[in-house]
């Protein structure tokens, strides 16, 4: 059996002949944007929330990242957040809303609170729920109708997906991080390459990653179309969870730990598809187009689309036009205007530490605006406790308050039309960061390098001038 099979089977309430399975959901996260219509659906049917203690709420998508203590200026956002507060009170759901010390991006707070645990089924009305798979859980995004189903019954109807294994072996080069691994994979198999699959990531390169780096990888599984991604739990996982606010304790911990140790794919299990990647082949990556599959090494040239089937070339051309980039030219040296370090992909404390270690003693380029948006209140507090805020300040980087921010530009944090933004988020779709905004996805380190030089830069060339700080991180 695969790891996925083991968790799936444990959660089947019943199977419909020739139909989907009724899958029991252990943990349900909700936020302000995709939940209001689910609650009004319940109300219409006169239903209670079936298991309120298994749903956890936060406000993240809409919230401002400056002056969070003040009422939200934008009316519709304010109403949506107020609606969430009201719904949570009415139905008895724990809310880590604005002002709470646990507030943050939903996929950052679940893990850091120890709510996300191995072997669970986890859903949220948000496609990047795949993040939680890093703990060896089946975690996937759902639509609002499904949010309503989980609220009402703690179950979903799901067809079993196909399974893919992506094996990454070997050692990563210096300056290459988890973000580069996943951008490399997506560039290889395309933005639709894993549609219909659940992906398990294995191999020595994956094993050697921290939990936060594993989350970065699982987070972007959805960007190649996968339903979700997961990684078998190991000592790194257990070590991370231990002592977190909602982690099991005492005898309960021992019992859970014994169960978690059984969560792995049995040797010689067949997958529907397998992919092998040599970690040494991966270079710092960046995207040049309008879907996450349009990525190249920072040192590479922008392709001309001839590698695609003929009927897809027009869309490819349209993407380059939107981006204002030329096929056949280097992406390195491309002038940029903004750097956004944030999102559920790369706004955890390790990301901030890595950026701070790199920019210590440096300053941003005068033509670039840099926003650092921590993934949660806890990340923010930790960054300040470690003095990272001072490092950012003297580098000219602005440290803001937690939320999704410019990842999707639902609050005021938008990139103006035509401007280039190197972003550590996960989507470079047209208009994602603001109408007409041009997004280049990259790792925190590559983003930090661009912030300093003002152009797309191969971070590896800058290491010679890096101080001790990086070595330690």
């Amino acid at each position: 059996m695969t790891l996925f099979d083991k968790i799936w089977e444990k959660h089947i309430v019943r199977e419909i002949p020739e139909g989907p399975a009724v899958l029991y959901i252990d943990r349900h996260f909700i936020h302000e944007v995709t939940s209001p219509q689910a609650f009004s659906g319940l109300e219409k049917r006169g239903l209670p929330v079936f298991r309120p203690s298994q749903t956890i709420a936060t406000a993240d998508h809409n919230v401002p990242t400056l002056n969070q203590h003040l009422p939200i200026k934008e009316e519709m956002s304010r109403l949506q957040v107020a609606q969430l507060v009201e719904n949570c009170q009415k139905y008895g759901i724990d809310l880590y809303g604005l002002g709470h010390r646990f507030q943050g991006i939903v996929h950052v707070i679940g893990p850091e609170l120890g709510i996300t645990q191995p072997g669970q089924t986890i859903v949220c009305g948000d496609s990047h729920t795949s993040t939680h798979g890093a703990f060896g859980a089946i975690a996937f995004g759902i639509g609002t109708s499904e949010v309503e189903m989980v609220l009402a019954t703690q179950c979903l109807l799901q067809s079993k997906p196909k399974q893919m294994r992506i094996h990454v072996d070997g050692e990563l080069g210096r300056g290459v991080s988890a973000k580069d691994i996943i951008l490399h994979i997506i560039a290889q198999i395309s933005a639709a390459g894993a549609t219909g699959y659940f992906v398990e990531y294995t191999g020595s390169a994956i094993r050697s990653l921290s939990m936060e780096a594993r989350m970065t990888i699982c987070n972007m599984s959805i960007e190649m179309g996968a339903r979700g991604g997961l990684i078998a739990p190991d000592e790194t996982t257990f070590e991370y969870i231990k002592g977190k606010p909602f982690a099991p304790q005492g005898a309960d911990w021992d019992k859970k730990l014994a169960d978690w140790k059984l969560l792995f794919s049995d040797p010689y299990t067949d997958f529907d598809h397998e992919l092998y990647i040599n970690a040494a082949d991966i270079e710092p990556m960046i995207t040049y187009g309008t879907n996450p599959g349009m990525g190249i090494p920072v040192v590479g040239k922008i392709p001309n689309g001839q590698h695609l089937p003929e009927n897809e070339r027009a869309s490819f051309q349209k993407a380059l036009e939107y981006m204002g980039l030329q096929a056949g030219t280097n992406i390195q040296g491309q002038q940029i205007d903004y750097v956004f370090i944030g999102s559920c992909t790369n706004a955890r404390i390790e990301d901030l530490r890595e950026v701070a270690a790199f920019v210590r003693g440096k300053h941003k380029s005068p033509n670039v605006e840099v926003w650092i948006v921590p993934g949660s209140k806890q990340v923010e507090a930790q960054a300040i406790a470690e003095g990272l805020d001072k490092v950012f300040e003297s580098a000219g980087f602005q440290l803001r308050q937690p939320g999704c921010s410019a990842c999707l530009g639902m609050n005021e944090d938008k990139i103006p039309a035509g401007k280039y933004c190197v972003s550590t988020s996960n989507r470079n779709f047209e208009g994602r960061q603001g109408m007409g905004a041009r997004t280049l996805l990259a790792s925190p380190l590559t983003a930090a390098a661009a912030a300093v030089t003002g152009v797309v830069t191969d971070v590896r060339e800058m290491f010679l001038s890096v101080d001790e700080g990086y070595e330690k991180s």
């Binding site: 309430v13 029991y24 944007v33 609002t144 994602r432």
Partner: protein, 194 residues
Amino acid sequence: MSKKIKSFSTTAVPLDAENVDTDQIIPARFLKATSREGFGKNLFRDWRFQDGDEAKPKPGFVLNEPAFQGKVLVAGKNFGCGSSREHAAWALKDYGFDAVVSSFFADIFKNNALNNFLLPVQVSDGFLQKTMSAVQENPATKIAIDLENQTITVAGASEHFDINAYKKTCLLNGYDDLDYLLSIREDIEKFEKG
């Protein structure tokens, strides 16, 4: 929202683009509503209008071409990728579409569409290309979709499409998943007790 889908025949709107993500179908800034209605007017908002201004329709975008009308949207492969926002399905349905034809749908979008009685019809690459050109060349081309027999017919050519048997029953009868889940609440409680 009209529930139940049977057979229908209609003209179609050809959207010749691959990887149409849900951020294009409905941009994030329109997700602030707390009801399900009214998203149709913002469907493909930034492809439809210059500077987001309703007074400035972009010429050349297919929804702005009066020649193309109908209840079916024909689109390139990997339709509905990206964000899980169900608002995308609501916007398409609210605008007046009952089906989307593509060679490939993103998973979450497909579920969302089915939950809203918007039929995702997945056809072969070849059939999609033929359909796309037939509609582009002659906007009066009819697309006939027969859910019961799972066939789609365009300009005399037919193809079978797949749909989960359970889902098909739901669509034909106007049931949704929640009706079913509520009916087995006792099983769920039993499962919880282990």
